[in-house]
């Protein structure tokens, strides 16, 4: 008996279960934040009836979605129609596997976790495209095709924007990248242009305002989700908010030091206390960026689809290439590799 293997397998199963369970409160919290913050921006009260200060409103929404009838259009392709929400949700949940919450609190900490992350997060476009096609609805089809065009285009600047950071740190693992940031300062200082590109591209990648072309309620009703109801719609909805959490988490891990406190003290906090300390900072920073995304949703209108694609190919992609080029030259000239 290989006890190492069984132990590792058990740990993996426990971690994945915990992550899947974690997606539910994450989505509830972000939906609640969104309702409340946008209400405050619009000089409304927002939810204030369910529970103290309305804190259970989003949970009630979740249960409502469970209780709703699940309809399938007559001419829809039933099999793929059913699979699509699952694909989108799993893409989000699977990418949480490498999310660096804290030292010792990463479900799978392997040496190419950055590559894994960008491979898996891009899978959700398949689900959206399938949903758009299977619904047998013109709005869904337009939304699905928009999703495909938008997410495939933005994946390129998104991935290129972090190559500079990877070259600088000489690693493809999130935990090693954060360790590098502990020694040399946050990548925010080293890669400001990369950060800007990553932020814009990540908003487009997860279809957040001002790039929420895929849903675009004033044009496409609800895009690929138009024909969905009940918990199938709920999965799309959940996946969207979980994706926002994931992108914010990855953003702070790449550029804002991940679980590191903004000051080096206490540097030598190890063991369980270090994990808790890391989790605290991780969630604080992540939710800061989630709030910024919510704030933008309350403020900005939506850009048009051609302007969006134009920005990806004409602005972000050249900028990302220049950033990579300059970083690579600097690494060679100043001999910065691994510093």
């Amino acid at each position: 008996m290989d006890w190492e293997l069984i132990l590792g397998l058990g740990r993996f199963l426990l971690a994945t279960t915990l992550l899947l369970v974690l997606t539910i409160p994450t989505a509830f919290v972000i939906i609640q934040m969104e309702m409340k913050i946008i209400a405050q921006l619009a000089l409304r009260f927002g939810p204030n009836r369910v529970g103290p200060r309305g804190i259970f409103q989003s949970s009630i929404h979740g249960f409502k979605v469970l209780a709703k009838e699940d309809t399938v259009p007559d001419q829809a392709d039933r099999g793929t129609f059913t699979l699509a929400p699952w694909m989108v949700y799993m893409a989000a949940a699977m990418s949480m596997l490498v999310m660096p919450f804290a030292p010792g609190a990463i479900a799978a900490d392997f040496n190419i976790s950055i590559v894994y992350f960008f491979a898996v997060i891009g899978l959700s476009v398949v689900g959206l495209l399938v949903a758009g096609w299977a619904s047998y609805n013109k709005y869904s089809l337009l939304g699905g095709l928009r999703a495909a065009a938008q997410m495939v285009s933005y994946e390129i600047p998104l991935t290129l924007s972090i190559v500079g950071a990877v070259v600088l740190a000489g690693t493809l693992s999130f935990s090693e990248l954060i360790d590098w940031q502990r020694q040399h300062g946050w990548l925010l200082i080293w890669q400001p242009i990369g950060l800007g590109i990553f932020y814009v591209a990540s908003l487009a990648e997860i279809n957040r305002t001002p790039f929420d072309m895929v849903e675009a309620d004033s044009e496409l009703v609800a895009g690929p989700f138009t024909e969905y109801s009940g918990m199938r719609f709920g999965f799309f909805f959940f996946a969207e908010y979980v994706a926002l959490f994931i992108m914010s988490g990855i953003l702070i891990s790449l550029f804002f030091g991940g679980w590191l406190a903004p000051w080096p003290f206490p540097a030598e906090l190890g063991g369980f206390a270090g994990t808790l300390w890391g989790i605290f900072w991780f969630f604080l920073k992540t939710y800061l960026f989630v709030s910024i995304a919510v704030w933008m949703r309350g403020t900005l209108p939506r850009v048009r689809v051609d302007q969006l694609m134009g920005m990806a190919w004409k602005v972000l992609l050249p900028l990302a290439l220049v950033n990579l080029f300059v970083t690579a030259i600097a690494v060679v000239v100043f001999d910065l590799k691994g510093v």
């Binding site: 946008i38 921006l41 619009a42 000089l43 409304r44 013109k138 709005y139 337009l142 928009r146 305002t209 001002p210 929420d212 072309m213 675009a216 309620d217 004033s218 044009e219 496409l220 009703v221 949703r297 309350g298 403020t299 900005l300 209108p301 939506r302 850009v303 048009r304 689809v305 051609d306 302007q307």
Partner: protein, 427 residues
């Protein structure tokens, strides 16, 4: 002959009438009233409409070339400003043709008015253009006063101008919000509604109702101004400019907003005139036509009023025009409050009036343009003919003109900039 016999087609009486009419006309050497239906083979593939198209224009819209698709926007759609159906022919995301299909909110208001007495007509016209209720009542009131030969007292005219300008402000304010909402901006509409709510509270204090005010009467208005109205007006006036500026601050300079409205839906002055577009949409194209100035009515000749115009005629110009007009209306309200005389608010008019046979025309500048009423009296207690010209209906005709070549995403944004209200379009 049994009814179930499929071979025997019972002729439609309307078709019989038509055939008879055409035969008579042909005998007299005239062309048939209705042209022959055009040859059309494509509708089996398209599926809509479920009948052959009746006009050349319908056929043009419904025939699809390779790679084109018909998309029905509405009547159930989150942002068609009521129940309107836009039939959009698209190639990918690019609009090839667009055809507004109307009639989903038709309530037969003209006919209702013809069956009502002159005094009760003013209650029926309220729900037409439901964002400019006061203007809806103003035009028939003017027409009926001309018809009956009565004049509203001076104070009544001032109160009319006051409530009408207040109505214009909230209508234009909502247009700002809806324009942003149709581009995905969630907040400006709620700021607009804060402003609207204050005005509606004010108007409900004076008229007793919140939406369909039913405030105008033939020969005056229903109530004089009261203390609550005055105090609400003062409070509102003290911060209205801040409210408008806060909303403007979110929209006007916004990069995304300007990128999506500048150069969009451009209507030149000549095109606008030939379509019959009036109101802010016409003035945004640079034509200085304002009914309040061109055909003065009520007390507008006594007030200082400049006709504001924009140059470019695009969605952004229409938006700026609305903001300028809000500020102008606030200026007008200041003057009206300063100059308001004392006196009665209602002339002596019997409950059921029977004007002498004749015709009268009343036109006002509504937030959407020239809104007018043409009434014919045959001496009875109700109008023999009551015809309304609604400006939204005509603004909407500009859509097929400006949309081809644009993207699906621009449909709603451009339509919101024309600010049509379906209640008025369909009557």
């Amino acid at each position: 002959m049994t009814k179930t016999d499929p071979e025997v087609r019972i002729p439609d009486p309307i078709d019989l009438d038509r055939a008879e009419e055409d035969r008579l006309r042909a005998a007299a050497g005239l062309a048939p009233v209705r042209p022959e239906r055009p040859e059309y083979a494509g509708f089996e593939q398209v599926g809509i409409p479920d009948r052959p198209p009746e006009t050349a224009r319908e056929m043009e819209v419904y025939s699809l070339a390779e790679g084109e698709m018909l998309l029905n926007m509405g009547p159930q759609h989150p942002s068609t400003h009521g129940v309107m159906r836009l039939l959009v022919k698209i190639r990918g995301e690019v609009i090839v043709d667009i055809d507004p299909v109307l009639g989903y909110l038709h309530r037969g208001i003209e006919k209702l008015c013809e069956n009502a007495t002159y005094t009760t007509v003013l209650t029926y016209v309220d729900p037409m253009d439901y964002l400019s209720t006061m203007h809806n009542e103003h035009a028939p009131a003017i027409a009926f006063e001309k018809l009956y030969g009565v004049r509203a007292p001076k104070r009544a005219e001032y109160i009319r101008a006051l409530v009408v300008e207040l109505n214009r402000i909230f209508s234009h304010g909502l247009m700002m919000g809806f324009l942003a909402l149709d581009m995905g901006g969630l907040t400006p509409i709620l700021y607009s509604f804060i402003n609207r709510d204050e005005i509606v509270d004010m108007l409900s204090a004076i008229s007793g109702q919140r939406m369909l005010f039913n405030f105008f009467r033939v020969g005056g208005v229903n109530f004089d101004v009261n203390d609550e109205f005055i105090s609400r007006l003062g409070t509102w006036r003290s911060h209205v400019l801040e409210n408008i500026e806060m909303n403007e601050w979110m929209i006007t300079e916004n990069e995304i907003f300007t990128a999506r409205t500048k150069g969009m839906g451009t209507l030149t002055g000549q095109e606008a005139i030939s379509l019959g577009v009036t109101g802010p949409n016409l003035r945004a194209s640079g034509v200085p036509f304002d009914v309040r100035k061109a055909h003065p009515y009520s007390i507008y000749p006594e007030l200082e009023l400049e006709v504001i115009t924009q140059e470019s005629g695009d969605s952004y110009a229409r938006y700026l025009q609305r903001i300028a007009e809000i500020k102008q209306s606030i200026h007008l309200i200041d003057q009206i409050v300063d100059k308001m005389p004392h006196g009665p608010v209602q002339a002596q008019v019997p409950g059921i009036i029977r004007p002498k046979p004749g015709r009268a025309y009343g036109a006002v500048e509504s937030p959407r343009g020239l809104y007018s009423v043409y009434a014919i009296s045959d001496g009875g207690p109700n109008p023999y003919r009551f015809r309304m010209r609604d400006p939204s209906f005509i603004s909407l005709q500009a859509m097929p003109k400006v949309m081809p070549g644009r993207l699906v995403a621009d449909t709603m944004a451009v339509m919101a900039s024309f600010d049509p209200v379906m209640g008025g379009v369909d009557k």
